[in-house]
Amino acid sequence: MSFRSIFLFIIFSSGMLHAQDSTSVLLRIHEDLSSVNNFSNLIYANPANQHFARRYSLSEFGAGYNTSSQQTNMQQLGNGIRQFLIHAQSHYKIDTKNTVWGNAYYKNGQRKNVRWNESSDYQVIYPYVTADSIGGDLSFEEYSFKGGYAKVFQKTTLGIVAEYRALLEYRDIDPRPKNTVSDLKVAVGISRNIGNHYAIGSAINLQKYTQSNNLKFFSELGAPAVYHMTGLGVYNNLLTGNKLSSFYDGKGYGANVQLFPKDQNGFAVAVGYNHFDYEKIMTEFQDLIASSILEKGYEGAISYLKKSEEQAWGTKIGFSYTDRAGTENIFDNQTSTSYVKIAEDTKYTNQVTSVVFSGLYSIPNPEFSWSIAPSFNLKKTQTKYIDPLRIIDVQQGIGRLDFSISKLLSQLLINVSTSVEHSWALDSKMKLNDRIKTNQIFEMLDHNFAYLSSAYTKMNLGTRWDYKYDADLNFFVKTDLDYYNYSKNKNNTYFQMSLGLTF
């Protein structure tokens, strides 16, 4: 693939941005890993604010392998992923007034047993996926580049960041989807000092998203029907059958505002609004617009962090609300090759409301630092299709305790983190007014509902060993293990390992 060569070129040329920071590499890594440093992360939606994100420059280049096995999950997402990835990231302070940062990754892997979804990026385009009853494993290649620049002009800081992601997903046996995603995001922001301690900032962001889907069948004997799903297992009958190509044409925009202490010591407030919409177009069939999505998202956080050389503590409330509405076009099949739109109706809605309360206590002494962070998240997800009436509503309470410890030796930084999380299923209901008997689609809904409404306990253990080879060159090995236990004794496990260089 040409993906790979472009990617490697950029990775190696970015290595030229060799961090010339005189601070010991282990201290710089320590800053990067610090939970205090990542506490008020919502303010970094504004690229201008990246200027205040770090004291030190740091670059990292690594390669890793992830594997996950999910006994329960949304069928549309599959039941496991195996992937190889290489990644690079850099936060580089050119001088006191100029900061550049960026990251890049390349992933190559496979998603296992994806059902009722032959499209890609389910979390972006749901529920209007193309589907068949067969499904199977999907191979993918994905790469992403992100680069930003922030510059200080006296009391004002300007920033810009751009991010591009491309994904290719395919299968080599029937059904054979070939999906390509292209996702570009750009944001520009400004912040201005208010007094010596605080700054206020604002940014706007734009997104252009496209995905093309092409399905093929090579079997001589026949092929399954292809459905264009419209939410909660419903599909359009007139578009069912052999309409194999579609195109998702999406765009987004948003704006956000932040008020924050430049040294991260004090109150920080951030609020943001995001709009995303797309149309699903039946390419190869009159370029008919089958359906469209309009999503509005609101998020905000307010945090307080008090830090000193000896200790740091913080508290934060975050909220987010997303309202997604799906509108279908209704057709008359005047002839088989010429459908005419006669009406439209907003039949699918999905709302997610989430409030997170979190706290942090940390002893930041680099020689031996530790932190503890409790959080509690109340989350309500409501999904509805109006005709036939189908509803899935889930309310969860997710409690979590994070603990992290890191020890600095002369040549070595050891970081161990662990967390325990429990999700209580506070309330859940599934209502399917038109359920008559069981079929594969109702089985899929039952399976997804069991996953979404199940309580679970999650345990995580992460370790990272950083070995200082030179004053500004370091090797690291990192492992992460997540274990989820859902009701009915279903278990999901994730394992990842990566190694690389930091400089």
Binding site: S219, E220, L221, G222, A223, P224, A225, V234, N236, N237, L238, T240, G241, N242, L259, F267, V269, E284, Q286, D287, Y298, G300, I302, I317, F319, Y321, D323, E328, I330, F331, D332, N333, Q334, T335, S336, T337, S338, I342, A343, D345, K347, Q351, T353, V355, K380, Q382, I386, D387, P388, L389, I391
Partner: protein, 402 residues
Amino acid sequence: MKIKLLPIYLTIAVMALLQSCSKDDDNYSGKQTALTLKLINPEDLNNVTLSNLSVSFKELNTGKITESSSFTNNDLSIALSEGSYEISINGKINYSAGESTVDASVSGYKESVVITGQTAVVSLNLFLKTSQSDFIIEEVFFTGTKTAEGKQYLGDKYFKIYNNTDEVLYADGLMIAQSEFMTIEKQNYTPNIMAKSFAASAIAIVPGNGTTYPIAPGAYFIIAEDAINHKEYNPGSMDLRTANFEFYTEDADDVDNPAVPNMENLFSSMIIHNRGFKSFVIARLPINKDAFLADYTYDYEYNMVIGGESYPMGESVYSIPNSWIVDAVNLSVASEFQWIVTAPSLDMGWTYCGKVDADQSRYGKSVRRKVLSTSSKGKKALKDTNNSTLDFSPEVKPSLMN
């Protein structure tokens, strides 16, 4: 401090949001149109009263079926979601014929009825259902079989034609025709003759002098694609040597069993569509064959629209007037169905083997008419309401397969 009040504002905002998104409008079911359906009585009937009327509205995008029987005289008012509908009606009719009155069944059918806006009025013609006095199609085995290697096996398809009457009928001269149009492809075929005639892509006719092939009440005859023992070539197939007739095309790579009379090809040759997209009729020819071939050609045209480009298409085939047709069956598959290709008075439904295009599970299955009752002498009465959806059992084991 202004800043310190922010958590309070934020918490209030979150609470308000959580409240506001608890919508409970479960009864809302899309944009509704208030529809008035007006039934038009069959022509030339006097003192008509309708009773036991029931109507079914099927929306083609959603597949949702709404049924009602709340008629006031010939009218019905109902709220429907906006969409494209297939409307079918069944009921009883009473009318006067001279001194006496007649009780009969009545039907109506209309497809592609666009219902949008606040209100809409649709009128629909009713037609009388005629009682059957000739042969009916009992079974169509059109899918063929599959070999042990998983390949399609050809040549073992057949039609089973049944005498559902109490009289001896003669198979001689019965025509069987395959439709020119497919139930999965709808175009603006011009001129549109479907209300009066059936467009045929192939017509074959039973030989005989008029009384050569008598068929007793309750008996049937078989027309096979090839009347040979197919088990010799495919153990999963069947022995069709006992068929009464077989299709045969000269100058083609076709097998002929000399012991079984061949059907006469009146127009083209019968290549039975094995995915079940075409429909079949049987008919009696009231004129001689040469006159038919001279006077009943059907030249049609349409524009095939692909990607915004329009391509003029056309074909020359034959048409069979509906009044000659004694029975009809429409075939389709659910995922691809677009329309029925007979007049609704001949058949207002369709039956199937397989639910999607080229369904792998369809092989070795047939469609077969349902049995209403069996007399003490063992004669079956088969269901014939001119609605193949109701009259046929789909995807059944072929009666000749054992």
